[in-house]
């Protein structure tokens, strides 16, 4: 009886083993149809544990990891995720900690965990794996994120000076890391199309995004995918992200706006004046801000471009919503000049150089002095030159007369002696 029982037991065991092998082979054949380089037909009948075939396990959609706090994360990988990605490397190029199986040594994963029935258990194959090496899914992501450095070292240098990195360093683990903006398996060029950029940022900065979308810049980007308007990264940078918390951001912002708004090639298309930056610098505000910018002094309180024109909500001055629309100007000025009256905004020449038609008084004063100063000072110099010439001539004449007189008396004395 003992022999029979042993035989039946072994037969059952082999049946289970054979079925599972067949099952595995079948699933691998299906996967082999997918364009995944790691899944080849030669590996289909081999133990996934030995060939390091990640998909052997991770192709199971039900596979989840369970953290100590009970929260779970999917461990399923769909090769379709990689379609169109700029990366064609295998899993292990990024998943450094999972180079060997079982993962996360020295913890040993018992065979029974997956193959319970093989060991006489009645339970179904488990799809839930306890993860003890990481506290949560974010920790896993942050660990894998380090792998980007292997190829993109220069970008890592850039992000060390990023506001996002500083937030991370202060302990906010949800500050963006590479994968948050670029994606993980589905990495594609972040600026194709260009509208993707604000969408990526909107994942965290939703309210700014909606404001930006309605601005003159954002609307043009959304509507016509305009290549000239700035997206988030044009002002805030991509890897070296800066914002108003950066001490120099405020002062530097004037060159940020000025760079595009003084470029004829960009502004000409839209009929926007390119004098705006220079006239700003010629004025009280611009002069002060520019000095602070050059001195790298962050304690700047005078108005920059965005103080009047708005930041993410910037509109064309002809738009009623614009803070520099004529009817809204007084209110805008009152932000800094609380006593500003209705005529106060007229003090501002709307960035235009003075003309006779627009500002006759200013044009007259400027033109008058332009001619008066050189004329008067020139007249002074001419007068001085004439006066000095006469004085020098008189002095020389006096001297020569004196010399003459002296020589005459000398010769006279000599004559007397003779």
């Amino acid at each position: 009886m003992k022999r029979i029982r042993l035989f039946v037991f072994l037969l059952a065991g082999f049946t289970v083993l054979g079925w599972s092998l067949f099952n595995g082979a079948f699933s691998q054949t299906v996967l082999a149809q997918e364009p995944v380089p790691t899944a080849t037909t030669t590996q289909t009948e081999v133990n996934p544990h030995e060939t390091n075939d990640c998909l052997g396990c991770h192709s199971n959609p039900e596979m989840v990891g369970k953290f100590a706090d009970g929260k779970t994360m999917s461990l399923y990988y769909d090769p379709k995720q990689h379609d169109g990605s700029v990366h064609i490397e295998g899993c292990r190029s990024c998943h450094d900690a999972q180079q060997t199986y079982p993962h996360n040594e020295p913890q040993t994963t018992s065979c029974e965990v997956c193959h319970a029935q093989m060991f006489g258990g009645t339970a179904q194959n488990t799809t839930v794996f306890e993860i003890t090496a990481y506290e949560d899914q974010r920790a896993v992501g942050m660990e894998i994120n380090k792998s980007c450095q292997k190829c993109h070292g220069e970008k890592f240098k850039e992000i060390t000076d990023s506001e996002h990195t500083r937030i991370l360093a202060r302990g906010n683990r949800y500050a963006p890391i590479c994968v948050d903006c670029h994606g993980s398996h589905n990495i594609t060029s972040p600026n194709t199309p260009r509208t993707r950029i604000p969408e990526i940022c909107s994942k965290c900065h939703m309210s700014v995004y909606t404001t930006y979308e309605s601005s003159v810049h954002g609307a043009a980007l959304e509507a016509e995918s305009n290549p000239d308007v700035p997206t988030c990264e044009n002002c805030h940078g991509s890897h070296k992200v800066t914002g108003p918390t950066d001490p120099n951001f405020r002062a530097d912002s004037i060159t940020l706006c000025g760079k595009c708004h003084s470029a004829k090639s960009l502004m000409g298309k839209y009929g926007i004046s390119t004098d705006v930056f220079q006239t700003y610098l010629d004025d009280f505000h611009g002069r002060t801000v520019d000095f602070f910018r050059q001195a790298r002094d962050s304690k700047i309180t005078k108005a920059t471009c965005y103080d009047c024109h708005g930041i993410h909500n910037i509109q064309a001055p002809s738009n009623e919503l614009s803070s520099v629309y004529p009817d809204n100007l007084q209110k805008t000025c009152q932000q800094c000049h609380p006593d500003a009256g209705i005529t106060f905004p007229q003090a501002w020449l709307s960035h235009y150089s003075p003309t006779w038609e627009e500002t006759p008084a200013l044009y007259a004063v400027t033109t008058f002095y332009k001619f008066f100063v050189p004329t008067l000072i020139g007249g002074f110099l001419v007068y001085i030159a004439i006066d000095a010439r006469r004085r020098i001539a008189d002095k020389l004449k006096k001297r020569s007369v004196k010399v003459k007189a002296e020589s005459e008396t000398k010769t006279g004395k000599q004559d007397e002696k003779v």
Partner: protein, 298 residues
Amino acid sequence: MKKSKVEKAASTKPTTIKRFIYYRDAVNAVKRLRVAEDGTPYVVRFTRAQRIEHFVLILSFTTLAITGLSQSFYMSPIGHFILTALGGIESTRVVHHIAAFTFIIQSLYHVAVFIDEAFVHRHISRMFPAWSDVTDAIQMIKFNLGLAKHHPLFDRYNFEEKAEYWALVWGTIAMGFTGLIQWFPAEFTSIFPAGWIIPVSRSLHRWEAILAVLAILTWHFYHSIIKTLNLSIFNGNMSMEQMEEEHPLELAYLQQAAAAIHNKLWPVEIEIPIGHLLEEQSVEMEEAIIEKNAEGSA
């Protein structure tokens, strides 16, 4: 022919100038004609208050010019250096405002002194321009060019000094108002019904500053330092030689006014002889003509 013309010119010229003076003027003249310990006579040209006023003016004007122009030309290396040395553009403005306040107070003091002199002491400053200044200027240029044979005789203030003074008066008014408008833009635009006064003020303030500094560097420095070093504004005194040279009419007046001190009835009309001054010149003229005639005959 020429000689007769000279004679005619000399004969038509008055040999004296008549002027009414009060007792106060005579006292003032006596006070101003002094003799040094070693016996050399000299004239007091400026009072201590006037000298202090000028010193304050130098300090405030220079400070305003340096702090103002460095703001205007903040992009230039010198401007940038000055602004940085003064602790940035904001603190430079504070210095500029302090100097401006001093300048304005000093200007108001000057006006107060004028009013006091004119309405309390009944003494009108001789700084007011007269037609003679125009003729003096023309004659001076003619003389310098060799077209006139004698240079004009100057009174208390010559036309060069008057031009300097009135340019400063205009500059102070222009700079003061345009500066205050920029200092208190909101307040001024609420009084003035037009906002363009601010950009106009800014432009005018900048141009006027350049003009003022250039005028001081050229006109004032030439006449008071280069031409003849005139330190009377610092030490208050002027030597007799320099008085005879630069202000002969004033010297003649002072001598006559001082001589009239013992008069009993005031005001009195004094006669200031200028004949001897003109005579010297006419002698020079005659010599020159003779010289020229000799050249022509030779």
